[in-house]
Symmetry: C2
């Protein structure tokens, strides 16, 4: 993660400059919420909160930042000194990572002095938007995979280094089993999984020699790639290798008719008594392809997913905004055409049916208790984290529990049902009061 | 940029482990090329080479990386020591950044010992793919904008920190004028541009007071956001502010019918003698929206583009691959179904018509001179950069010259023409020889 406080939009600094000149530093409350679901999507999965909290804890303008600000020309020296002293000392309430949520429900609520709560807008959106985007996409793959192993292969086509690393985290918390990205293990302890590239086979004059050489190093983990030249011929070479006493962990199919090749390869392996050798498939897969392969009964034990998940290719962004909802004790809302927001500090209450499935949410003003469970929980108070950081495994378990609570219509990949999110009368009234203003 | 050598795929390390055990360290040549254009796209713009070269220059496993590798369990101590000594000492030839290119044309060719040239695959793709993706998208906006000012607003919804920063660079080299991302100025010297957020207006009880307070700090740069409540009423407040002697730089429209509001606001400003106040528009814009607004004659001086450009929303990834094309003096190719690659070291020759427009490319083997200009140029030799790093302004000028050389059919946003890329007979013959092989 970058800790650079200058990774922000210019307008955050120019607005802070004006707030500073005007002495505007009373308490502001901002909400980050998604306005609409991407087409064909039924729900979202909150993610990125841990990195958001780390950002807020560490936020400061260092000496080099202050030098740049002073030299830039548009900021007064007293304002630059103010920025040098600025820390995030506010409160944060948020959905725990892994929580299923819907439009109009705040993912995070930031309460702090106006400059502090304003400044953090750009990077908070940047962190929360991306992991939420990827966790939401990955959760659909998890639903489609019906329990099969899923591995994140996407770093190379993720949008830069941080995207590659955080996509590994977001897919893992949504239910993937592992990532190919080494740094994801170093930083987050995410299990690693990898196979081999076509280049390895091509660098050898003989495919069987390539297989033997790769397997010899670490047969227990070796997954051999079969499709460099001819998939079924390559499977026969795996059998020949096993006859020399080298039994590998698995094989990977990466092109062509994956279901057909998987059936052929399974038959070849089984006929040689290699029932324990697992078959992995990859190649521009997404939740729809996984669903089709599972439905076809293809004997595939696990899937490697990369580009389409790590870029959320069908919906590479969410329509979200970080909006001022209260300042100096007064609720606020914007009324721009098509972009009206709900004012005030909010809470979301969720009800469950007798099977524990989600049965409707109510968004209301904070302090207006409703039936059900409040979803936004305290995360920071006065700039400090409440409690210890949750372990990623605990977040992942929460994510799995959340997916298990999805009602059937929301589990459909296509044309999912619309979940009931109700605006409480108290919030409707507050909006009317603000509009009457 | 992260310099972490462990930002790679596990299989790069396990393949290197096997190469090490087998003593495979002869010269390998890899190509990075795009296989197919995204739907509706006519050309691509190469970008990211500077960051790729920096990565290769700095590549090393540091002490913490080596400790992780030793502790991981699957790597032998002698191999970990080998990694500790590993540096990139190979050659790189590439398309200069800003160059227009097409499928089957290598963006970069890496020549080095097999372990070195293999290891760098994951991060090289990660760096070159993303900036190429964004520069290619931004170039379309530049074509649509017909000379109007374009500003990158996209950091918040870019996929993480590095994506936000490098999207600013990629859009700038493709012809944007500025970015809102502060760090893009600090790191790359990209001009900054910013306006204000709705929150600033909402934090004030009175919109006119908000405008006055913001403008007072820096009227010369102040761009006031008009659509928090009512756009035309806000324009009247800009006029009132001017009557107090505070003349701002511009206004921004962010919602509703942008062309209609722009005409209304222009009329209101002009009637008050405020012809010099410029009008900017934003709000989920892309090249198509810009083209429509320009065609409608909307009096908009500049556009802020964010999400749809910084995520390349219609095509958030390119179908590209880094493929072994030669090892130990022998050309190589893969023949996976639907993913066949061209073998050998290649060069691309481009011809121009008498107006200087692109008139056809020929891809051939290196050392088979053809009419036209060779596009791949030497970038690194024996691990060191050839010449000095090009200035970003020079890259941007090259990008502008490249766009000016596009033939008319390729300039169309929809249903662009197909550019002629021919595979030379020498390359066809080489592929046949490899297949017979």
């Amino acid at each position: 993660m970058t800790d650079d406080a200058l990774l922000t939009d210019l307008y955050e600094l120019t607005m802070l400059h004006a707030y500073f000149r005007r002495g505007m530093a009373r308490t502001a409350v901002f909400d980050l919420a998604v306005r609409t679901l991407p087409r064909g999507r039924g729900f979202l999965v909150a993610a990125g909160l841990e990195q958001a909290v780390e950002y807020l804890e560490r936020l400061r303008f260092g000496p080099a930042d202050l030098d740049w600000l002073a030299a830039e020309g548009r900021f007064g020296r007293d304002f630059v000194e103010f920025l040098g002293r600025l820390r995030f000392t506010g409160d944060v309430d948020a959905l725990p990572e892994g929580t299923v949520f819907f439009p109009d429900e705040p993912v995070i609520r930031v309460t702090g002095s106006l400059p502090e709560a304003q400044l953090v807008e750009s990077r908070l959106i940047n962190l929360l938007h991306f992991q939420t985007l990827i966790a939401s996409k990955a959760a659909r793959v998890v639903l489609a995979a019906a329990g099969k192993v899923l591995v994140d292969f996407g770093m190379r086509r993720a949008h830069g280094a941080e995207a590659g690393l955080l996509a590994a985290r977001a897919t893992y918390l949504a239910g993937f089993s592992a990532s190919a990205t080494v740094l994801a293990n170093v930083r987050f302890g995410i299990p690693l999984s990898g196979t081999m590239a076509h280049a390895f086979v091509q660098a050898h004059d003989d495919e069987a020699d390539a297989f033997g050489g790769f397997a010899a190093v670490d047969p227990e983990h070796a997954v051999l790639l079969l499709d460099t030249y001819d998939t079924e011929a390559a499977a026969a070479k795996v059998v020949a290798l096993a006859r020399t006493g080298v039994e590998i962990a698995g094989v990977r199919l990466d092109s062509g008719d994956l279901a057909g090749h998987a059936m052929n390869v399974r038959r070849i392996l089984d006929a040689a008594g290699l029932q324990r050798v697992r078959i992995f498939a990859s190649g521009n897969l997404d939740e729809h392809a996984v669903e089709r392969l599972v439905a076809a009964g293809a004997p595939i034990d696990g899937f490697g997913l990369g580009t389409r998940v790590d870029t959320s290719a069908d919906a590479p962004y969410l329509d979200c905004a970080y909006k001022l909802v209260e300042y100096a004790g007064r609720p606020r809302r914007k009324r721009s055409e098509g972009k009206t927001t709900w004012p005030g500090r909010k809470q979301v209450y969720r009800r469950y049916d007798r099977d524990g499935r989600l049965a409707g949410d109510m968004v209301t003003v904070d302090g207006d208790p409703q039936p059900g469970t409040p979803l936004l929980v305290p995360v920071m108070r006065a700039g400090r984290r409440v409690g210890s950081p949750p372990a990623l495994e605990a977040i992942r378990a929460h994510g799995a529990a959340e997916l298990a609570r999805l009602p059937d219509p929301l589990r459909r990949l296509d044309d999912p049902g619309v979940y009931a999110v109700t605006i409480a009368p108290a919030l409707e009234r507050l909006a009317q009061i603000v509009d009457a203003g």
